[in-house]
């Protein structure tokens, strides 16, 4: 594997809440190389989006703060940069697509102006050149009649078109890393497929590294090269998509794969109840000293309640944080 483009090492993020300190990211380590898609999966409240916000330097402070760890983009440390320095990184080096395209676009500016804004900011382009780039980007994300659409306001576009505009904004300055936080959750299935195709095409052309955050194992299977499964602020399993999906080691990963009714090309006549992961994600303020998943785990042993399992290799580059796995 070549040197990672972006690496997150031992990142710890704490939030102080009325109920006490919540460790939302607990020694998270991730890396993504150029031209690669890293998937991050988990339920809500597992730290997926917080990982993305930390990389962007957008952890709300207070109440949150990066307690320790480092985030490096091509060797450059991002933790501790000033707001002005971060502003240069955001948009230029790292782009981000948010879940809800309607609420993340500014309703009083045309989509062309919103794409041009980051080009003018980061590349000192003239307004005219920036607008030309905006039209070019709209064409790149396959919006019909881009010259006309550049003058449209967000409310005049459909959900799928808005998400294309978001992608155009994120990619306008040709960032080396693109973070896509649930980019298709609000979209219909056929539009989701179009957006996935588009992301894949753009990546092939530009070699941008993509971090795809989702709860859909199907999306991971179709788009990602490697996957990290998160639970209660920790990475519990990490490896290539093929190994993790075909041979999951952590009971949580196994549960996530089997509990979803996957579409089968040939459904069985008899229906079995779905395997369940009992219970819910725990509150991050009262995690015990043991494995956070233990209360919901069907394979737990005595050791699980005593100490947190480290993320260690089970087979090759396939890492799992579980006392039971690999035994």
């Amino acid at each position: 594997m070549s040197a990672p483009l972006l690496s997150v090492d031992d990142l710890v993020v704490d939030f102080s809440t009325r109920a006490g300190n919540a460790r939302v990211l607990d020694h998270v380590s991730l890396e993504v190389t150029s031209g690669e898609v890293l998937g991050i999966v988990g339920e809500s409240g597992c730290g997926k989006s917080m990982t993305a916000l930390s990389i962007m330097g957008l952890v709300p402070n207070p109440p949150g703060k990066v307690t320790s760890g480092s985030i490096r983009l091509e060797g450059r440390e991002l933790v501790g940069l000033s707001e002005a320095e971060l502003c240069e990184v955001r948009g230029r080096d790292i782009g981000m697509i948010f879940q809800e395209p309607m609420s993340s676009l500014n309703p009083v500016f045309t989509v062309g102006e919103q794409i041009a804004e980051s080009v003018r900011l980061h590349e000192n382009a003239s307004p005219k050149a920036a607008m030309a780039r905006a039209v070019e980007m709209l064409r790149a994300v396959e919006i019909p009649e881009p010259e006309l659409r550049a003058k449209a306001y967000p409310h005049q576009l459909s959900g799928g078109m808005r998400q294309r505009v978001m992608i155009a904004i994120a990619l306008a300055c040709r960032p080396r890393v693109l973070i896509a936080d649930e980019p298709t959750t609000a979209l219909d299935a056929t539009v989701q497929a179009q957006i996935f195709d588009l992301l894949q095409d753009l990546q092939t052309e530009t070699g941008t590294a993509i971090i795809l955050i989702t709860h859909d194992m199907g999306a991971i299977a179709e788009l990602a090269d490697r996957v990290a499964v998160m639970y209660a602020g920790r990475v519990v399993e990490k490896g290539t998509v093929e190994t993790v999906l075909s041979n999951p080691q952590h009971p949580y990963t196994k549960g996530l794969i089997t509990c979803v009714p996957h579409l089968e090309p040939e459904p069985p006549m008899l229906r079995e109840p779905l395997p369940e992961i009992p219970g819910v994600v725990p509150a991050l303020t009262d995690l015990g000293k043991g494995c956070a998943f233990a209360p919901r785990c069907l394979e737990r042993i005595a050791q699980c309640d005593d100490s947190k399992p480290p993320l260690k290799a089970t087979t090759g580059p396939h890492l799992t944080a579980c006392w039971v796995a690999g035994q």
Binding site: E43, S44, S158, G159, G160, M161, D188, A189, T190, V191, Q192, A193, Q194, F196, D197, Q200, H215, D216, M217, G218, A219, A221, E222, L223, A224, D225, V241, E242, L245, G255, L256, I257, C259, V260, P261, H262, L263, E264, P265, E266, P267, M269, R271, P273, L274, P275, E276, I277, P278, V280, V281
Partner: protein, 324 residues
């Protein structure tokens, strides 16, 4: 338990919005549901799938009489739901109930859990006070909530537990039919399985009939017996769950199935499938001919002129396409 003899029959249901006179011109008519017919045998689950704007939710609301029915007939057992007037409708509502998508906004935040579940019984004055309280306790047990949770407010429950409350409220009047509008879409994946298993168990125990609205084909395949695919207010294909997924006929169904990301696929093989371009046209300016023709990869010139009828292409399998 044996299913009760009360099938749901929907005949040529139409729901149109707008069309009245506005300030300057006639308002456009939205053909939200445009001639939908199907039958759900008692004790079965009928699924309606489609994208946003296909009319699946409006169909559900029209059956519940929560929007005005423009034309057509809805019958549940011996009751013609679509013909009932105010007081009769209120009394008949104990037979059919609905569970909504968002379990948070569909529960009154100022009421305690027990009150929420009891409210339909209070409104319809079913049983004595003591009987209603006993019924609430029974319902909490049925949906897997603990008795001491009766005094809590909705915000003190997790998303999955709130949906259990929604189910308990729907079940309180012992209905025959429960209309479920995307009941698990707002829930986390691990919680979805818990609710789907609960719904399947309740159906077996109580002989319920479900009308299940969803955009998630995996969920629909798992829980439904018969499935209709809707596009722009009409059913384009309908079959039992095994036939629809093993032998889809309508190009839209095929494209919809191809669009779903699957765990067993990978980066390399996802490209050789049917892809739809663009978004569905608006239900205001409906095209002539087949409504899907503008996005259909197989469309011929006659598809833009002739309107296809929903017809039986093999026993129990209906599709609306000129090319079949």
């Amino acid at each position: 338990m044996e299913p009760r003899n009360s099938a749901l029959v929907v005949e040529d249901l139409k729901v149109h919005f707008g069309g009245g006179r506005g300030l300057f011109a006639t308002k456009p008519t939205v053909h939200a549901v445009d001639g939908v017919s199907f039958t759900v045998p008692a004790g079965q689950t009928f699924g309606i799938v489609g994208e946003s704007g296909s009319g699946k939710t409006t169909t559900a609301l029209a059956i519940m009489r929560l929007v005005d029915v423009t034309a057509g007939r809805v019958t549940l057992g011996d009751t013609v739901i679509s013909d009932l007037d105010k007081e009769d409708l209120r009394a008949a509502r104990r037979q059919f109930q609905i569970v909504f998508q968002d379990p948070y906004s569909s529960l009154d935040p100022r009421k305690r859990a027990a009150e929420i579940v009891r409210e339909p019984l209070d409104l319809m004055q079913i049983g004595t006070r003591a009987e209603r309280d006993a019924r609430v306790t029974e319902l909490f047990g049925q949906v897997g909530l603990r008795p001491e949770q009766r005094a809590l407010f909705p915000h003190q429950f997790s998303g999955g537990q709130r949906q259990r409350l929604g189910l308990a409220r729907a079940l309180s009047t012992k209905p025959d039919l429960i209309v479920c509008d995307e009941p698990v879409s707002a829930l986390d994946v691990a919680i979805q399985a818990q609710i789907l298993n609960l719904m399947a168990r309740l159906q077996q125990e109580l002989g319920l009939t479900y009308l299940f609205i969803s955009h998630d084909l995996g969920v629909v395949q798992h829980i439904c017996d018969e499935i209709a695919v809707m596009y722009l207010g009409q059913i384009v294909e309908q079959a039992d769950r095994v036939t629809l997924f093993t032998n889809p006929q309508h190009p839209y169904t095929k494209a919809l199935l191809a669009a779903v990301p699957m765990v067993h696929s990978n980066k390399r093989n996802r490209r050789d499938r049917i892809r739809l371009k663009g978004d569905p046209p608006s239900p205001v300016d409906l095209p002539n001919g087949c409504r899907f023709a503008s996005r259909c990869p197989l469309a011929e010139s006659r598809c833009h002129e002739q309107t296809p009828e929903l017809r039986e292409i093999s026993p129990g399998h209906r599709a609306a396409c000129l090319l079949l």
